[in-house]
């Protein structure tokens, strides 16, 4: 992987490296050997069993071979191949979800834990603090004021803070997601913290995010 900027990467394009007169199987084998491990890791990261990871990786390369004619070089070859792998992943999730709905009944919490689609599962977590009504009222009020304070932040600042707090991303990851530099991310987070500190000094002691 060649670093182009703080958040941009350019993947190697083996198609460009094909030599004149090279046989098709030799060319595709080089593609296969270059990208099989990262595609395999992509599925492995998503908690598929090893055998299924191999199957999904193989399916990905069959799709790559059959659809290489649609590659228009608008994106690097690696990104295009990654897109195929991600499509295989989403199709697999969709099929599994369909099979599960047709089969046994599962709780929403269990489903979210299994399929790794965290935001939809977490949204249904039970609020344990609701057992104390007074504290709950205070929490709701504090939460309202905090929400207003967050909404008053500039957009980029608010997004950086959400990625940092809600998704626990590093500065480098936030920079990749927001397509800005790490220094910009640090600046946004510092200013967000300062502004919230001014508005919420009566409610919090620790403003570290």
């Amino acid at each position: 992987m060649k670093e182009v900027g703080p958040h941009r990467v350019e993947l190697a394009d083996p198609v460009e490296q094909l030599r004149e007169g090279e046989s098709p199987d030799a060319a595709f084998r080089r593609v296969f050997e270059t990208y099989y491990p990262p595609v395999f890791r992509f599925f492995e990261k998503r908690n598929f069993p090893s055998d299924q990871c191999h199957d999904l990786t193989q399916e990905t390369f069959i799709r790559v071979y059959n659809n290489i004619g649609t590659f228009r070089r608008e994106a690097p070859f690696g990104a295009w191949l990654f897109q195929i792998a991600a499509n295989v992943f989403r199709n697999t999730l969709r099929q599994q979800s369909t099979q599960k709905r047709a089969g046994q009944h599962l709780s929403l919490v269990e489903v979210s834990a299994e399929d790794g689609d965290a935001p939809f599962g977490r949204a249904l977590l039970v609020d344990e603090s609701a057992q104390n009504p007074l504290e709950d009222v205070l929490r709701v009020e504090r939460s309202r004021i905090l929400r207003e304070a967050v909404e008053s932040l500039p957009e980029q600042m608010r997004r950086c803070m959400m990625l940092r707090v809600y998704q626990d991303l590093s500065y480098q990851q936030i920079a990749v997601v927001m397509r800005v530099s790490v220094e910009t991310v640090k600046s946004h987070l510092y200013q967000a913290r300062q502004q919230l500190k001014e508005k919420m000094a009566d409610y919090f002691e620790d403003f570290e995010i």
């Binding site: 992987m1 990467v9 190697a12 394009d13 198609v15 460009e16 094909l18 004149e20 007169g21 090279e22 098709p24 199987d25 060319a27 084998r29 296969f32 270059t34 990262p38 595609v39 395999f40 890791r41 492995e44 990261k45 191999h54 193989q58 390369f61 290489i68 004619g69 590659f71 608008e74 690097p76 690696g78 990104a79 295009w80 990654f82 897109q83 991600a86 989403r90 790794g116 965290a118 935001p119 939809f120 977490r122 949204a123 249904l124 977590l125 504090r142 939460s143 905090l146 967050v150 959400m162 990625l163 707090v165 809600y166 991303l169 997601v177 397509r179 919230l196 919090f204 620790d206 995010i209």
Partner: protein, 345 residues
């Protein structure tokens, strides 16, 4: 009441926001859109929308981060695939894939192998380079054509100007030629007139010479021999008497009618008898008193009269006074005077 940590409270707020977002049925980003966003191929508005989704969607964010890290993805539980395993996997997949046979002919090899129906040997920027080249060529061609048109217009204008000048020159030449012809004609007319005048002058001179010769010839006096003068063609005759013996005296002129075809006038002058002179002289004076003709060396004929032939050219119509003198030594003596009125018919 102050609580300990802002981060926990914020996380809860964001979690509720994410729950609301998922409750509104927010779909995951399309992978194509995610890849385009990662490659910076989306508009600013699209980027804002995608970022708004990413901050609340862990799945899409994770996908984007994996895409950014690809192919150097890391997985904690992953084990390195061995070369043998890769070969085994290749053996499996190569059975399912139907590779085209290698091209046996050299022509295909020269053109380069195109496994997936794409120009694999061309770099990604080649279409843009070709398009830019074509654009530059088109612009250059346009400029060249414009220059040719301008040059063509200039040359056409020059040709028209040259033709116009040639036409003017031809017209001028024709005018000069016409003037030359007119001048030649005028010169010819002048020459002809001069020739005519010269001929007339020559004829006039000849005529004058004849007259001079006629005048120089001694007058034929018939009285000397006492016979009648020989009749002459175109000669008119008239007889005059001295005015003092004519009725009416000095005021009575004899009218002499002469044919217009006559050339000469023969006058017979009757004279009073008196002594003889050696010779006589006759002057013919017009009304202004100018002598139009003079005859010298006259002699009396047998009847004591004088016969004189006068050219009529010298006598236009009018009254004339004729004076006869007798010549004597040292001078002359006026003898008789005659009055005559000439009329032509």
């Amino acid at each position: 009441m102050a609580v300990s940590n802002l981060r926990d409270e914020l996380k809860e707020v964001f979690r509720e926001a994410a729950a609301e977002s998922s409750g509104r049925g927010s779909e995951h980003l399309e992978l194509e859109e995610l890849v385009a966003y990662h490659c910076g191929q989306r508009s600013a508005a699209d980027e804002q929308r995608i970022q708004d989704h990413l901050v609340l969607c862990e799945s899409c964010t994770e996908m984007l981060l994996d895409l950014a890290a690809f192919p150097d993805l890391e997985c904690k539980e992953s084990q390195e695939l061995s070369t043998g395993e890769l070969s085994a996997r290749w053996a499996l997949i190569s059975k399912e894939l139907k590779f085209p046979a290698e091209a046996p002919d050299t022509t295909r090899k020269k053109e380069g192998w195109r496994l997936w129906n794409i120009p694999v040997l061309l770099p990604a920027y080649m279409p843009y380079a070709i398009a830019a080249t074509l654009l530059v060529a088109a612009v250059g061609l346009f400029v060249w054509v414009a220059q040719l048109r301008r040059e063509n217009r200039r040359l056409s204008a020059q040709v028209l100007e040259t033709e116009r000048r040639a036409a003017q020159n031809n017209e001028q030449l024709a005018t000069d030629r016409r003037n030359q012809n007119e001048t030649d004609k005028s010169l010819e007319d002048a020459r002809r007139r001069l020739e005519q005048q010269r001929e007339e002058s020559r004829k006039e001179l000849e005529k004058r010479d004849v007259e001079i010769a006629e005048l120089r010839r001694p007058p034929r006096v018939a009285s000397g021999q006492g016979g009648a003068p020989n009749p002459a063609v175109n000669v008119s005759t008239a007889e005059l008497y001295p005015s003092e013996v004519v009725r009416g005296g000095q005021d009575s002129a004899k009218t002499v009618e002469i044919s217009r075809s006559a050339r000469q006038l023969r006058l017979t002058l009757n004279s009073k008898p008196r002594g003889d002179y050696a010779s006589y002289t006759l002057d013919i004076l017009n009304q202004g008193g100018v002598a139009v003709w003079t005859g010298r060396g006259l002699h009396k004929n047998g009847q004591g009269n004088f016969t004189v032939t006068v050219p009529l050219r010298m006598l236009p119509e009018g009254e004339y006074r004729l004076k006869l003198y007798g010549a004597q030594a040292g001078g002359r003596e006026a003898l008789d005077e005659y009055l005559m009125r000439v009329q032509y018919r």
